[in-house]
């Protein structure tokens, strides 16, 4: 016993140390990663963000240097807070608050104190920075916008938030990320890859050279430039035409699916979201719930399409073989069903398909629609067949374009009506859905979906997924999916009468007053009823003015959809704007200056003020 005590203790300590070492070195490897290591400082080298060009190589956005004041909280030494705050132009309380937030985020990692200093502030601050240990200035590059339009297309960049950092370890506090538009969609292309340098530090936090002679360091990889499909001149012109109006314009090149113009109104100057006032400006835009400048109406707005939808009713009718182009339907200044009438305006009657489209006869399309649904044994099957044909035009679902926001729109299903009418307890007839025939009722489309189906009509039966990317400059190319044709269910020969009808809209129909000389345009007006709630009461507002068109009739170069909220009848605003845009794009100059003057000087602000006035108002005047 006496011989064994010490030797036992020696062996026990050996085992104890083995266990402890195993725990520290092998089992609990938490403190082993490079960035967690307090002996190694990680420095980032940010590459230039890629530029954006328009389809004609006009520069849209480039970069400017910007300077962020950064802090690593654990390195902060006692400092003259008052002097530092006056240099930073912030209050002491604000400064303490920022510092506390940085500490909470991480004592080891850098946080932003003041973002985006301009050159003048940087100059006065940089010579005194040596006095403030733990603080340093990080150079970054900021966007510099060459144009004051297209903010909705380009989008913007913003500081990453904690949610993004947790999801994507590439980003560190204070770094920038594209958060809307092309900046978001093509973030990784534009961003490039930041370079990393590992610096060995001693216990006084002094740099003592690159860690392991820099074998883990990486060089930054520059962001790639991007060429967009938009035409800057067209974009600018569209923005001007839309002043004092709400709505949007989408123009697509039918033979490629390239988006030529994507205009939402009201919009904002993209330069507002750069620099020290960014946050102030952003808040202002974000909380403008009346004009909603950050809301992209052409991608996010779901509107009743109105009469342009009749072209689709006609196409589906032909495809389902329930109507012949020569079939005529009587219009009794409306479509009578049961004891109700769906009204129409006065025009020659009866009309065949071309005339029906040219004069936008409601009754004609109600007849066609009813025949489509009645072709099937039950209205449920009828609705679903009708829906399937429409979905082949890219309706009722996301189109798959390369911008980060969008809506499905709505093409109602039989399930929807079964639920609404409490089927099978109550049956419903096709007439309950008759408003769909003329693009009212439950049907909702986004303006880009309208432009897309117009492009499909222009192509006589197929479309390319609309896209904003024309070229990624460098070895990358644009995704293959933008080069695939999507065929609609409707056979090419069935498009002929519809296109003829759309041509007649200009020749002798609803748009005959807004003809553009020398260009054969096919179009369709739309006037859509719409409602809002004022103090909880459903109130009708002035109709939306809608227009879709493509030109030239043969070998179309542009398909366009224009939407003007509460603009009254289709040719009044939307039709004029569509014509001007087409002429601008195809000819590069405007011959109908009378129309241009009318649109540029016209304002709908009084119309938009009505629901907020608190007084009773009249509509459609």
């Amino acid at each position: 016993m006496r011989k064994l005590v010490l030797i036992a203790l020696v062996l026990i300590s050996g085992i104890l140390f083995a266990a402890r070492l195993f725990y520290l070195q092998v089992y609990d490897a938490s403190s082993q990663s490079l960035s967690e290591n307090n002996a190694i400082k990680v420095m980032y080298d940010y590459p230039q963000r890629g530029y954006m060009f328009d389809r004609n190589n006009q520069l849209l956005v480039s970069n400017q240097p910007s300077y962020d004041v950064m802090v690593i909280p654990r390195d902060v030494k006692p400092l003259d807070t008052l002097e530092f705050c006056s240099l930073l132009k912030i209050s002491k309380e604000k400064f303490e608050e920022i510092l506390q937030k940085a500490r909470t985020y991480s004592p080891r990692l850098p946080s932003v104190v003041i973002p985006q200093l301009n050159k003048a502030d940087y100059a006065s601050l940089s010579e005194k920075m040596y006095k403030y240990e733990g603080f340093y200035i990080q150079r970054r590059s900021l966007r510099e916008y060459q144009v004051n339009h297209s903010a909705n297309v380009m989008g913007y960049i913003a500081e990453v938030n904690n949610a993004i950092i947790e999801k994507n370890p590439y980003y560190q506090m204070g770094e920038l990320i594209g958060t809307a538009g092309v900046e978001k969609e093509y973030e990784e292309v534009l961003r490039g890859i930041k370079g990393v340098k590992y610096i060995q530090k001693d216990r006084f936090n002094r740099d003592i050279g690159p860690y392991k002679e820099g074998i883990y360091d990486t060089l930054p990889e520059a962001g790639k430039d991007i060429q967009l499909t938009i035409d800057a001149a067209l974009q600018k012109y569209g923005q001007e035409l839309m002043t004092h109006k709400r709505g949007g314009i989408v123009a697509i090149e039918p033979e490629t699916g390239e988006i030529l113009a994507l205009i939402t109104a009201p919009s904002y100057d993209p330069s507002l979201l750069v620099g020290r006032d960014r946050s102030k400006n952003f808040t202002k835009l974000w909380y403008d719930t009346i004009e909603k400048p950050l809301y992209d109406r052409v991608l996010m707005g779901e509107y009743p399409p109105g009469s342009p939808f009749k072209t689709l009713t006609a196409l589906v009718g032909l495809h389902e073989q329930v109507v012949d182009t020569l079939d005529r339907f009587q219009c009794y200044r409306g479509y009578r069903y049961g004891n109700r009438t769906l009204g129409c305006h006065s025009h020659a009657s009866p009309l065949s398909m071309v005339g029906g489209i040219a004069n936008s006869c409601n009754a004609y399309f109600c007849h066609v629609y009813k025949r489509i649904i009645d072709k099937y044994p039950t209205p449920q099957e009828g609705i679903d067949a009708w829906r399937k044909d429409l979905m082949s035009f890219g309706l009722g679902n996301f189109l798959g374009y390369d911008l980060p926001s969008g809506k499905r729109g709505n093409i109602p299903t039989s399930k929807y009506y079964n639920k609404a009418h409490d089927f099978p307890a109550h049956k419903w007839s096709p007439l309950a859905t008759i408003s769909n025939a003329i693009g009212q009722g439950e049907v909702l489309l986004t303006p880009i979906q309208m432009a897309n189906f117009t492009a499909a009509i222009a192509n006589r039966g197929y479309y390319y997924t609309p896209h904003i990317i024309k070229n990624i400059i460098g070895p990358d190319t644009i995704p293959k999916k933008f080069k695939e044709r999507h065929y609609t269910n409707v056979a090419p020969e069935n498009f002929k009468p519809v296109i003829e009808g759309m041509y007649q809209v200009y020749e002798k129909g609803t748009a005959s007053g807004i003809k553009i000389p020398d260009i054969k345009i096919c179009g369709k007006t739309g006037t859509a009823e719409n409602f809002t709630k004022i103090n909880g009461k459903r109130t009708q507002l002035t109709d939306h003015s809608i227009f879709v068109a493509f030109a030239p009739k043969d070998n179309p170069k542009i398909a366009i959809a224009v939407f003007v909220e509460n603009g009254y009848w289709g040719s009044r605003w939307a039709g004029r704007i569509a014509g001007l845009m087409i002429e601008k794009y195809l000819k590069g100059e405007i011959t109908r200056t009378d129309m241009e003057k009318y649109v540029l000087e016209g304002s709908l602000e009084a119309e938009y003020a009505k629901p907020y006035s608190g007084k009773p108002f009249s509509i459609n005047r």
Binding site: L21, F22, L24, Q25, N37, A39, I40, K201
Partner: protein, 418 residues
């Protein structure tokens, strides 16, 4: 004699482990003290260059020790002991103060720390006293005698003040126990440690309640065997008084930095930037090693000088970072192997003197090994004592070399008495 056939009688295993530890120690000191001004391995301005010199000189010392007739150590043990005590006392007159402790003699730039050598002389004196035919450790008188031999150097060292080094003298309880000291001393010592640590961790009141509860349970279980109530009451009272005095001393006598050292150990303080810094940095460095380490001179914590005293007391953290679990385990196994081998050889000694000396050597090495690696890996409070043969420092290296090689000589000479 080391010449002729007799050299074969040296215990080459001990010598081999000694050489391995010294070389590995130097390799790690080189890494821990490497700086930009280094001009090669033999730059004597650098810490690793000096250590190279101390290692070279230690082999000269070894030759001297092995050359001397083995009987000399037993015969002159008392004289050597007294001379070493005079040297310790001389510090109060001629000593040099470094970091608050007057532990050094300064010989023209070379500092010698007598306390590193006194461990060996005390071991000799104790071995001589206990092996005396008239000494019987079961007698109280002789227990006092042995205690005085240990207490004299310990008190002189505490007065320097260097309480860490004085702690080592507690190791001599093991050779004394081996030679017949009653086991109750070991038990008392062990209970004192348990009470001490639990008082600091939970507070005196809870410890007192726990002691009372435990005594109650024991009394109840032994009630049929007519327990000696007075003994129970004395033990319980002793424990409670001890617990409260520890609490009192801790709060009122200890200085803040002593308290901090214990609080870190007990997990009451986790502030890595404050007082837990040394231990935390050392743990980070060791963790960085992983299975196989970062490689020689590649440790980031070591290079950044994050671990304080890394070439001396914290040298094992360099081993941990640069050689990983594998390297650390080799060092641990070498120590365990060396101490086990010493104990094995001690039992084989024909003289009681040789056996007691061997046990003392083993116990001292074990204490250093346990306290130092325990501290560096964060399972023992910070007590600044070196890792034998490994840590930087001439006095420490020579002190341990002398301690070890006197035993190697005694062990080699053992064969003559057969």
């Amino acid at each position: 004699m080391i010449g002729g056939k007799n050299y074969m009688r040296l215990d080459w295993l001990m010598i081999f482990i000694f050489i391995a530890l010294v070389i590995m120690g130097w390799v790690n000191i080189y890494s821990a003290s490497l700086s930009d001004e280094a001009k090669g391995f033999f730059d004597f301005d650098q810490i690793y260059g000096k250590q190279m010199l101390w290692i070279g000189l230690s082999f000269v010392i070894i030759i001297f020790i092995l050359a001397i007739e083995s009987k000399f150590y037993e015969r002159f043990a008392s004289v050597i002991y007294i001379v070493s005590l005079i040297a310790l006392a001389g510090l109060f007159v001629f000593g040099k103060t470094i970091a608050g402790a007057t532990s050094w003699f300064d010989f023209g730039g070379i500092s010698i720390q007598p306390s590193e050598f006194v461990k060996a002389t005390t071991a000799l004196a104790l071995a001589k006293y206990v092996s005396d035919i008239q000494t019987n450790l079961t007698e109280f008188k002789n227990q006092i005698g042995a205690f005085i031999i240990l207490a004299l150097p310990a008190i002189l060292i505490i007065l320097q003040p260097d309480p860490g080094s004085a702690l080592i003298y507690a190791a001599f309880i093991f050779p004394l126990y081996r030679e017949g000291l009653h086991g109750v001393y070991l038990l008392i010592g062990f209970s004192a440690v348990v009470l001490f640590v639990s008082t600091l961790a939970f507070g005196a009141i809870w410890v007192a309640l726990a002691v009372l509860l435990l005594a109650g349970i024991l009394l109840f279980r032994n009630r049929k065997r007519r327990p000696d109530f007075i003994k129970y009451i004395l033990i319980v009272a002793g424990c409670i008084v001890f617990s409260f005095s520890v609490s009192y001393i801790f709060e009122n006598v200890f200085k803040q930095h002593h308290r901090d050292r214990f609080n870190i150990l007990l997990g009451k303080e986790v502030d890595a930037r404050g007082i837990g810094y040394n231990t935390k940095q050392s743990e980070i460095a060791i963790s960085n090693g992983g299975w196989f380490g970062k490689g020689w001179t590649q440790g980031t914590q070591t290079k950044g000088n994050f671990v304080p005293e890394q070439h001396t007391d914290y040298i094992f953290s360099t081993v941990g970072e640069e050689w990983g679990f594998t390297g650390s385990m080799i060092v641990v196994l070498l120590f365990v192997g060396l101490i086990t081998r010493i104990l094995f050889r001690a039992e084989k000694q024909k003289t009681q003197f040789g056996r007691i000396y061997g046990y003392s050597l083993a116990a001292i090495l074990f204490f250093h090994f346990f306290v130092n690696i325990g501290m560096v890996t964060g399972i023992f409070p910070t007590v600044g004592i070196p890792l034998p043969f490994f840590s930087y420092g001439g006095s420490a290296l020579w002190g341990f070399t002398i301690l070890l090689f006197i035993f190697v000589k005694l062990d080699g000479a053992n064969h003559y008495y057969t």
